[in-house]
Symmetry: C2
Subunit: 156 residues, 2 copies
């Protein structure tokens, strides 16, 4: 398949069955107590694991693991890995395009930034919940702010 068709194909597949997420993850080692985690996840029945291997060969990032429930899972985690994978297929996305735009915005978060800016990125992560229909989201910017206040981590 020529390169552009490949990108369009993967965009269609991600729109149909893939998962694109931004989560706030509690991390004891972090100054601000939380990490913004970006991820792309694809699932397939174990017998179609070869398809995930093929996907990975093209997206170049992430790892594949077999779960205990007969499924194989291909996960790409991290700002840089998600950015480089997502950018390839972004132009062809339809259903997840707005979500992908926010994810790409977050992926540009600098390593060093003020607490105020960090909270801005946390708010962007919160915004994605609207597109992923996440109902059980518990970690939100509110929780991060509570943590910062409690630990006297000042903004900015």
């Amino acid at each position: 398949m020529p390169n552009r068709n490949l990108r369009a194909y993967i965009a269609g597949f991600l729109d149909g069955d893939g998962c694109l997420m931004a989560q706030l993850v509690k991390r004891s080692g972090y100054i601000r107590g939380y990490q913004i985690r970006l991820s792309i996840v694809f699932y397939q029945k174990k017998q179609n694991k070869h398809f995930l291997v093929w996907l990975k060969r093209y997206l170049k990032h992430g790892y594949i693991r077999e779960r205990n429930d007969g499924m194989a899972e291909y996960t790409i985690v991290g700002l840089k890995a998600v950015k480089e994978s997502l950018i390839k297929i972004y132009p062809y996305l339809r259903l997840k395009k707005k979500l992908a735009k926010i994810i790409l915005e977050i992926s540009d978060m600098p390593r060093k930034l003020s607490t105020k800016d960090f909270l801005r990125y946390c708010r962007l992560a919160d915004k994605t919940a609207k597109y992923t229909y996440s109902k059980k989201r518990t970690r939100t910017v509110k929780e991060v702010m509570k943590y910062l206040a409690k630990n006297k981590i000042l903004t900015p």
Copy 2:
């Protein structure tokens, strides 16, 4: 999106979240008691119905309906409609390619054919169960043959 990218995108989407089927359907009005029904089905949450409308504009066949469970469903049924839709995206399919090949073979079934040939197509429909992981398939070529024998419909 250029035409080929569009086709690749839809192939990816069908591979991820679409449904491609060949079923034997009991039909009292039919000489041989059964019809071979081909279908392509796409689902989306009601709020993404516009996506199905967009798909339909391109595939040109089928109809969209809103279900009672908050989902919208886009269904393409029939040998000719499925053939003309599927042929557009066939070259780009990956996961459902083998299945699609059998579906296209069935879609070429002539209107008039011998009972022997009809059974050959029924067998092809049975073969698709392997690819759709259908476990509750009850109508098989065995049942059709039983019906034909009982009603003294001779092969060929």
